[in-house]
């Protein structure tokens, strides 16, 4: 039998306090660790070259010392050439493209996902389980395996016309192959399956068609999941860069990440960290704003997506 340990009120409170301090201390330390790269990125973007290259590094800049030239330089107009009149870092063009691509991809994904999830959740057909297993299995396949063939396919479709590619074609090439997500089908199917059968039978008795039932009953009920899918999927376009670079012929058709790739180097090949960080900040900020706007949905969605799919 354990020895009985009796402590007084004070000891109890102290113990609670220490345990709280340790916990909060640990969490705060991690939180700082998480935030540091963001801070460092923004701080660097506000420094002059001299400040960036000072040793030891400057950890804090007073507001009055902020240099926004790194940002303004990004928007300096190119004097001549193909991109004459456009900014050095065509942030707004990239943003516009990214938002459009993200919107279209998400729209397409939602449509294919809802239809397929409905079929898997609600309808009964031959080979359903096998097909579902096959689809799930494709989630394991590294996407790299597809990329070359897909490029050739896009070519066959006439969307990659090196000389005459239009914006529409570029958009098609960037969106159509990504209008599928087995993961979301799986995720939505789970939600659909939680909707009681009785509702379906009741609707059937009322003479509602399957499609109407999907539209009027299932989709509204599953709305939180669908919203989650929409948000998660829209964020994807922010990170995409291999494919957009591959299937677009012109810089102005590309997405934000592609803009970052053209590493900001000065004429001697030295990295211009200030400009680089300014561009990185510009790319990061919209996402962060989006995140804070939909914080609850995003976090709930991602959390749930992790719980058994």
């Amino acid at each position: 039998m354990a020895e009985i340990f009796v402590e007084n009120e004070k000891a109890y409170k102290r113990r609670r306090l220490i345990s709280n301090i340790v916990t909060f201390g640990f969490l705060s330390l991690v939180a700082i660790g998480i935030l540091i790269p963001f801070y460092w990125m923004i701080l660097t973007s506000l420094k002059s070259i001299q400040e960036i290259e000072s040793v030891p590094p400057i950890l804090w800049l007073n507001f009055s010392d902020w240099k926004i030239t790194n940002y303004t330089d990004l928007f300096l107009t190119v004097q001549s050439g193909e991109r004459a009149g456009e900014p050095l870092f065509p942030f707004f063009t990239y943003m516009k493209n990214t938002v459009l691509i993200s919107f279209l991809t998400t729209l397409g994904t939602i449509i294919t996902t809802i239809l397929a999830a409905f079929a898997f959740a609600r309808l009964n057909f031959k080979g359903k389980d096998t097909l579902f297993a096959v689809l799930l299995a494709t989630m394991m396949v590294p996407g790299e395996i597809f990329i070359l063939t897909n490029f050739l396919t896009i070519n066959q479709f006439g969307w990659y016309d090196i000389l005459t590619q239009t914006y529409t074609e570029a958009v098609l090439a960037m969106t159509i192959p990504f209008m599928i997500s087995v993961f979301y089908v799986f995720y939505l199917r789970q939600t659909f399956r939680k909707i009681p059968d009785e509702l379906y039978f009741a609707a059937k008795v009322d003479g509602t068609s399957d499609f109407k039932y999907l539209l009027k009953i299932m989709i509204p009920i599953a709305m939180p999941t669908i919203v989650t899918i929409i948000i998660l999927n829209s964020m994807g376009a922010w990170s995409a860069y291999i494919w957009p670079a591959m299937v677009t012929t012109q810089d102005k058709y590309r997405l934000v990440s592609n803009g970052l790739r053209g590493a900001f180097t000065d004429t001697t090949g030295r990295t211009d960290y200030g400009q680089q960080m300014a561009a990185a900040t510009l790319v990061t900020v919209p996402l962060i704003i989006l995140f804070f706007t939909f914080r609850k949905q995003i976090m709930r969605g991602v959390g749930r997506s992790g719980i058994k799919g």
Partner: protein, 360 residues
């Protein structure tokens, strides 16, 4: 192990900042080696009291002693208690053996001994053959017994049971009730048993404690409390069917219900509440008693007949509900529509003031 609670108070603060005094200034001594039933309707604070004893909740005020040890600030793991949860809280990923072994491992009991104790305990609760099953492979009753075994294996000073039978079906409940009683008797551990089921509490407990709104109403041996409730709440809470409560008057040492004399009292004149247990009615076969009614419904089960009497409309005021129940001998063959004269057994009749406090 005697348990003593002194002025124990637990206040919960809800999200809207409103306060609920779940346990309100409770002082109570639980004698060593007894099985105590902590009884009350849901929300009365009985579970909170149990959790305070366990140390899972922390009192806002007051003290708890196990014998002479004050354990008010002792964390649960150091109080030396065993607790059986309402839904058992068996670790789903551990086998029965592991579940039982777990507390011993935590107490660093020597492995060989721990093993032996586990088997002993499993034998005590009759689950020797199930040691290697997972909880979900057991029936509710079996799970319950594993929970008890786990609570007992470390030979706790106190065993606490939180509504341990509520998840069982009726038959199992009876059986397990006996089991708990047997085990408690064999181990002689001071046991506190929380339930909202008065029948359960009364059948199993050495003593019962009736609680309401965080306050102890009465404590005593089950039959004592039943026979001598200290207030209307206790009287109503104990007994099935429930006690019948009538509005009555005392006039000149006599007790009247609707001008019908039902007994005598030394109390001064005035309005009272009269509680009469269903078994307190005796059918006056000579039909002399003025206390008479037409019977509405008769149901006979075995040797008892329950009479349900709908009160005439003009006598609305005599009862807190529209009917009362009387249990009489089935041999009387009473049928609905019969007019029956009742005599009330004085020991089954309790007088309360309008606030529900017991008079005399």
């Amino acid at each position: 192990m005697e348990i003593k609670m002194e002025n124990l108070t637990k206040v919960f603060v809800a999200k809207d900042k409103s306060e609920v005094r779940a346990v309100d200034n409770v002082s109570l001594t639980i004698p060593s080696g007894k099985l105590i039933g902590l009884l009350g309707p849901s929300g009365c604070g009985k579970s909170t009291t149990l959790y305070l004893l366990a140390g899972l909740l922390r009192q806002n005020d007051g003290k708890i002693y196990f014998e002479e040890d004050e354990v008010s600030n002792t964390p649960p793991e150091k109080r030396g208690i065993g607790l059986v949860f309402q839904n058992y809280a068996l670790y789903p990923h551990m086998t029965v053996r592991e579940n039982i072994l777990f507390p011993l491992q935590n107490l660093k009991v020597e492995a060989e001994l721990a093993k032996q104790k586990t088997v002993e305990m499993a034998r005590l609760v009759g689950l020797e053959s199930m040691l290697d099953r997972k909880p979900k492979e057991l029936s509710g009753g079996q799970q319950q017994r594993v929970a008890i075994a786990r609570a007992l294996v470390k030979t706790p000073r106190v065993l606490l049971l939180d509504e341990p039978l509520s998840n069982l079906d009726a038959r199992l409940r009876l059986q397990t009730r006996e089991e708990i009683k047997r085990i408690q008797r064999e181990t002689q551990i001071t046991t506190v048993f929380v339930t909202h089921d008065q029948e359960e509490a009364m059948s199993i407990s050495d003593e019962i404690v009736v609680m309401k709104d965080g306050v102890i109403q009465q404590m005593g041996a089950p039959q004592d409390v039943y026979d001598d409730p200290s207030n209307l709440f206790v009287a109503k809470f104990l007994g099935n069917p429930q006690i019948n409560v009538f509005d009555g008057v005392i006039k000149g040492k006599k007790i009247y219900i609707n001008d019908m004399v039902v007994g005598k009292s030394k109390l001064p004149d005035g309005e009272v509440l009269i509680g009469i247990r269903p078994e307190g009615f005796i059918v006056d076969q000579e039909k002399k008693s003025p206390f008479k009614f037409n019977i509405d419904l008769v149901s006979t089960i075995g040797r008892d007949t329950t009479l349900i009497v709908d009160l005439p409309s003009e006598s609305d005021n005599i009862l807190d509900k529209k009917s009362f129940k009387a249990i009489v001998d089935a041999m009387l063959r009473i049928q609905s529509g019969d007019e029956i004269h009742f005599i009330v057994r004085p020991e089954k009749m309790f007088l309360f003031n309008m606030e529900g406090e017991r008079l005399e």
